[in-house]
Subunit: 432 residues, 2 copies
């Protein structure tokens, strides 16, 4: 990237930040009106968007695009209508900005409030899916943030048409169109990652390796997870019918999802009973299995290697290990799990409590499928991503993950010296 | 560092993590009993700790230690008693672990809880102050976390004596002494920063450049701020008597603190009135002043350079700039502020609201000194640090910053397939 390109990207970022500062203080009503205006503009521009997408699809086919990527790139009327309905749904979500988390008198006439406020500017980097532009822009506006979007080159014409419509929609609202910006060249990814002065959160949407690349190349906080290695542990006190249903669902319901299960842990006490039935059920669903030595003494499947325990298959494959105890199960999860979602199947309340408390993961489940680990299923409305970091926001992240807070202190000329030294006045610290 | 040293550090970290996993699920009572046991052990070991500190002080004097560092290193009976009283205070703070933040029925028999839980293992790197070991260890235990401490080499004997006493105190409690570990060689800092598999949060306590060094050399989240460039903006509608008191307090009450003010912004409409009286008051307190051209048309002070606006003096120095408008003040703060704490002095409610809403900083204050930006003053009890990052925890961080949360989902054999496809069962999503 040339010096002038970087300068222009910095200028764009500064422009976005200034527009976002105005957006950040608007009322919920003003934001919802803008979201409705965007829906209407997108509906009006639907023929243009579909035509642009047609051009993207044709060009990408000519360049030999992979089939799954093509499916994500391709927009049709139904998909576009669904995305626009999604914008209206965001309008209905609770406004995450402005909630008062702490309201405290520090001393007479000196009051502290902790208030939720927007982060500022989001940087979103995504692969082919042009409908992501629609979803993310509406989430950004609802949470009072500006957004700089960088889409994959496959989707460039679609993204341009969508952002053009969003800008048209915003033109007659209180919100400056500058709050939504689209970058269109590949070199801009690395430059975007360097703009820590202007961009407050990066949300990468793509493969694990892509998310990891982003994490390693920026000082900006990144919302995303690098791996989803989830386990189901079937305890000695498990209901084996439930366990079978849960393991099958956790593996096959959508194997490419990060919350699908990759390894089954089985307590030795139920291995002889459980392994034949669960493997039969899984093989009936075309799941390829591998197991440790003890598993293979019970059922005839391929041997598992050390590498299997550390692999997110993202596919109809499952590794199985027999463990001697709850503690061995927890140890295995602690060593190989990615702290995403971990489930136990047991009817023993004490065992379940130990597992849920001691396993370190964003989601710890008893007697249900790991597939429930999801913002929609948790009732968050829209999901901006799932985070496997330890610090909040952790797990499925809704609009709440796009805001932070600030401390507002209002006095009447109060100075710190009054509360220091030997005649220090005490604070009242009274919650209001 | 040799391979064997790294292996041993990894072993220590793993040991700490395992001990922390047990600690993390203990009751508040068990943790408070351990904190009391630590207080008693520290009292019993006071002569040993003071003797060890005497040796550290003597050796450091021989090595020509700088005076401020020596003052932080030196423990006497009063300082040690104060630190032990601080441990007992931590015992009295509310337990941040276990609070239920979300309690929701997803469907009949399928329930979601979001529960606060410990982070796991904290890595604390601090300079000379040995009493930091006492404070941080008690905070770590109260929040259910293990802690790996790396102190400055000046304080090595003091730290060893303190940690020995803490281990003795823990020996007869439910908590393994392994939860508190002390590293003693300088090379271990960089190795500690690499242990992202075992350490969940790094808290550096030291100079700005040290904090920045830590931030640039780890993938572990860092709680800390690199700079505190705070402003007071005196508006056209300011009460100039209040403004003078606030500016003087914000500058001189403790100039080395990060929440001290470095730049005064004055609205042109009150510059002629205000600048002579505020500069007289500041000069009466030996504050060195510099200002922009418009300031220097009113008062005779040194010229300010571009560098002044970007400098945290940490000293009795203040830069002054006259601005044409509220917006210019906000722009200046946006460009040069470090997002720490920013204050406006005004009697105009609308102007104050705009400032508090639009200024992007952890603390936004009206009519009070920037020096109030502090965990104790906010009523958080103990403060683990002040964060100038945008994502929470932001601003002064109490025990709350040492915990995260996990989602616990308990079902009765529920599988995701029930809620998918054309006969999908709807979720109830009912808050309990």
């Amino acid at each position: 990237m040339s010096v002038s390109q970087l300068a222009s990207l910095t200028a764009i970022a500064r422009q976005t930040r200034n527009a976002a500062r105005q957006l950040g203080v608007l009322s919920t009503q003003a934001k919802n009106e803008a979201i409705e205006a965007i829906s209407i503009a997108l509906e009006a521009a639907a023929p243009d968007i579909l035509a642009a997408n047609g051009a993207d699809c044709e060009r990408s086919r000519g360049e030999g695009i992979a089939k799954p990527l093509y499916n994500r790139l391709k927009l049709d009327e139904t998909k576009l209508k669904g995305a626009i309905a999604g914008v209206r749904d965001v309008g209905k979500l609770a406004d995450p900005v402005g909630s008062v988390q702490i309201d405290r008198e520090l001393d007479r006439g000196l009051n502290l409030k902790r208030v939720a406020c927007p982060l500022g500017v989001l940087g979103i980097i995504f692969e082919a899916r042009p409908d992501a532009v629609i979803q993310i822009s509406s989430l950004a506006i609802k949470s009072g943030n500006g957004v700089i979007l960088k889409g994959g080159k496959e989707a460039i014409e679609s993204c341009k048409a969508i952002v053009k419509a969003i800008h048209q929609g915003l033109a007659n609202t209180e919100i400056s169109p500058d709050v939504v910006q689209l970058l269109t060249t590949r070199e801009e990814i690395l430059e975007l990652l360097k703009l820590d002065e202007y961009v407050d959160l990066i949300i990468p949407r793509g493969s694990n390796s892509f998310v990891q690349f982003v994490q390693e190349n920026t000082r900006i906080p990144v919302l995303g997870h690098a791996d989803g290695i989830c386990h189901v542990y079937v305890d000695a006190a498990a209901d084996l019918a439930k366990a079978t249903d849960i393991v099958v669902d956790a593996k096959i319901q959508y194997p490419a999802a990060c919350n699908a299960t990759e390894t089954l842990l089985v307590h030795r006490a139920v291995a002889a009973d459980f392994l034949p039935r669960v493997t039969a059920a899984l093989q009936g669903e075309n799941v390829q299995l591998c197991g440790d030595e003890m598993t293979r003494e019970v059922v005839e499947i391929a041997p598992a290697t050390e590498e299997d325990w550390a692999t997110e298959y993202n596919d109809l494959m499952l590794s199985i290990k027999v463990v001697d105890s709850l503690n061995e199960a927890i140890e295995h999860i602690s060593t190989y799990g990615s702290r995403h979602t971990e489930a136990i199947v047991t009817e023993d309340a004490q065992t379940a409590e130990t597992f849920l408390n001691q396993v370190d993961a964003a989601g710890v489940f008893q007697n249900c499928s790991t597939r429930f680990s999801d913002g929609f299923r948790y009732g968050f409305g829209a999901e901006v991503g799932i985070s496997t970091q330890k610090m909040p926001p952790r797990g499925p992240v809704g609009l709440e993950g796009l805001v932070t807070y600030k401390y507002k202190v209002v006095g009447e000329g109060h100075i710190a010296a009054t509360y220091a030294g030997k005649d220090a006045k005490p604070f009242t610290h009274r919650d209001l």
